[in-house]
């Protein structure tokens, strides 16, 4: 089986800033690839390349075995790569169902928007995820952060994505909301989607991840299968190894 997505020594510079260099990873169907790393490590840059927002400068990027270079997010979507961005990628003033269908609007035979169908599907897709809204006509801006995140995920899953990319979906969420989102990640995975999950929280990454790609200052620090690493080691790696231990010690010190 070819991987859904495969990158080989991929690299990207913004002007004189080298944001990413020589990063290789794979995303398989039914698996979660977690991307971890410090602020500014290049995580968002990597997934923006996968999603067609930016183009890579070096290396090769294959989708289902085929060498590719997306020129717009539309193309990536058409290849089944759906992305939920860090900044949520919803339009706050628009209603929930219009956001849900944005870019893939259902139309009647005459070419008009099929509003009834749109609302029904949205309601159904959201309640499948356990979110029961009073009114799918309400603006997304009136939802809580967790709900918005779920709308975006539900949308990606609904439109038959093969690969689902999530950029820090749990950063702004409470413990429970984060749990809900992780549940849907796991669900999507079990439906056979390939998932790329970015997070700062090893406690969120480890339970659902199959593969862990660690980035640091634009370079791959390491790539592990779940079997190769445990959660403590992962946490340590994410924080830059030895440095963390000193820090933890310090915190304990003041705590005592």
């Amino acid at each position: 089986m070819t991987s859904l997505i495969e990158t080989e020594n991929i690299g990207k510079t913004y002007g004189s800033v080298i944001a990413l260099s020589e990063v290789s990873t794979v995303v398989n169907a039914g698996e979660v690839t977690c991307v971890l790393g410090d602020n500014g490590a290049g995580k968002s840059t990597l997934i923006k390349i996968l999603a067609g927002v930016h183009q890579h400068d070096q290396g090769s990027f294959r989708v289902e075995g085929e060498e590719i270079r997306f020129s717009s997010p539309r193309e990536a979507l058409d290849r089944g790569i759906a992305t939920v961005y860090q900044d949520l990628a919803v339009v706050p003033l628009m209603s929930v169902w219009r956001n849900f269908f944005l870019g893939s609007e259902p139309t009647t035979k005459l070419g008009f928007l099929d509003r009834k169908k749109g609302k029904e599907i949205t309601k159904k897709a959201l309640s499948d995820m356990g979110i029961d809204l009073r009114d799918v006509e309400q603006p997304v801006g009136t939802l809580s952060g967790g709900e918005r995140q779920c709308v975006a995920i539900a949308r990606a899953v609904h439109f038959g994505a093969k690969v689902l990319i999530l950029d820090e979906p749990t950063a702004a969420l409470g413990v429970k909301q984060a749990g809900v989102v992780l549940k849907y990640v796991a669900q999507a995975r079990d439906r056979g989607l390939g998932v790329v999950l970015i997070t700062h929280n090893p406690h969120h990454a480890y339970p659902v991840g199959n593969r862990f790609l660690l980035l640091k200052r634009g370079r791959a620090l390491g790539s592990y299968e779940k079997s190769e690493i445990d959660i403590n080691e992962l946490t340590k790696q994410m924080a830059g190894g030895a440095e963390l231990e000193a820090l933890e010690h310090e915190l304990r010190g003041v705590e005592a």
Partner: protein, 349 residues
């Protein structure tokens, strides 16, 4: 932002009861509708002729020309952009048509086609520049506003030696083209200009596009959050350029109506009108920041404008003060709209 997810079917205990009336005020154009009713009633009572059929023909005509542009500008504003060159464009297109027909002796229909192509090209250029450079459209279209203004004057004077082009009535095809753009139709013995039909048509089409089509959905999206829209696959660049072209098309329509009705055009026409379009759109409930508004609202905004402008004449007021009236009306309208919107948002939550 309430977390309704956790307690969905029961009413949220943190919300007071929404009043029934509040459901009415969710539409962006509700403020404009109230305003229009108020202005209409006021002038109907204060003056004699305002409510007559002849009166209606007059203020509807005035509103129609403004309205066509206001609707287009509203769409552009919903899409998050400005067009300060919209006013002069109405003159530019009329000038192109007139110069071709009177100086080169082209058939009027052909001249209209060429000037349409010209308009669309300018619109596309505006849009392309805005998208390409990432500059605010205020600046870019201010540039094209100035450039077009200069071109209008310079070329007219160069070609005709005066500041106006006239003599359209003798051009071939004037009659038939005039029928489409500048004829009148009779209702109760009073003639109404066909521009009113164009206005209604344009509003209906624009409103349908906005509310009922994919493209309309995209317009709201790119105005509200252009990056996010691009990310979910909305063709932002293409859509925005199309919006600028729509505005240019409307300017062509108004320019054509003008040139065919009046058979002449002056090089400095249209300057300053861009503000009236924006004002009408804002009165109609459009947000200056994009992502919110309605075509019907803009049309009603233009109607208010037309009624007030002609109503003042009917009332015999001193026209020196018209601008003052306009300024106060604008402020009042946006304040009311703002209040209503805030209220609506609270209700929605």
């Amino acid at each position: 932002m309430t977390v309704t997810a956790t307690a969905p079917p029961a009413a949220d205990e943190r919300l007071g009861k929404p009043k029934a009336m509040d459901q009415l005020i969710k539409r962006p154009e509700i403020g404009a509708m109230l305003g229009a009713l108020l202005v209409f009633l006021f002038f109907s009572v204060v003056t004699e002729q305002f409510l007559s059929i002849g009166g209606a023909a007059t203020w509807l005509d005035d509103a129609s020309m403004l309205g066509i542009m206001a609707v287009a500008v509203a769409m552009l504003m919903i899409g998050g952009e400005f067009d300060l060159s919209a006013g002069v464009m109405t003159a530019s297109t009329a000038l192109v048509t007139a110069l071709l027909a009177t100086q080169l002796g082209l058939n009027v229909w052909l001249s209209l086609l060429v000037s349409l192509a010209f308009a669309l090209a300018v619109g596309a250029l505006n849009g392309w520049l805005v998208m390409r450079t990432g500059l605010p459209s205020f600046i870019v279209t201010l540039g094209s506003f100035l450039a077009l203004q200069g071109l209008n004057l310079g070329i007219t004077r160069l070609v005709t030696g005066s500041v106006q082009v006239s003599g359209m009535r003798d051009a071939a095809g004037y009659e038939s083209a005039g029928f489409l753009f500048a004829s009148t139709f009779q209702i109760g013995g009073t003639s109404f200009y066909v521009s009113i039909i164009w206005w209604v048509l344009f509003t209906v089409v624009a409103s349908t596009v906005l509310m009922r089509t994919k493209f309309g959905n995209w317009i709201f999206a790119i105005g509200g959050a252009s990056q996010s829209s691009r990310a979910v696959g909305v063709p932002v660049v293409r859509s925005k350029i199309l919006l600028f072209m729509t505005t240019a098309f409307a300017a062509w329509l108004v320019g054509s109506i003008n040139i065919l009705r009046y058979a002449s055009v002056q090089a400095n026409q249209g300057i300053g009108l861009e503000f009236q379009y924006i004002i009408a759109a804002v009165i109609g409930g459009c947000l200056l920041t994009g992502g919110f508004g309605s075509a019907v609202g803009a049309a009603i905004g233009a109607l208010i404008f037309g009624m007030a402008r002609q109503g003042i004449v009917y009332a015999g007021w001193n026209s020196d003060w018209f601008q003052l009236f306009l300024g106060v009306m604008l402020l009042a309208a946006v304040l009311v709209n703002n209040m209503l919107r805030r209220r609506a948002e609270r209700v929605r939550r």
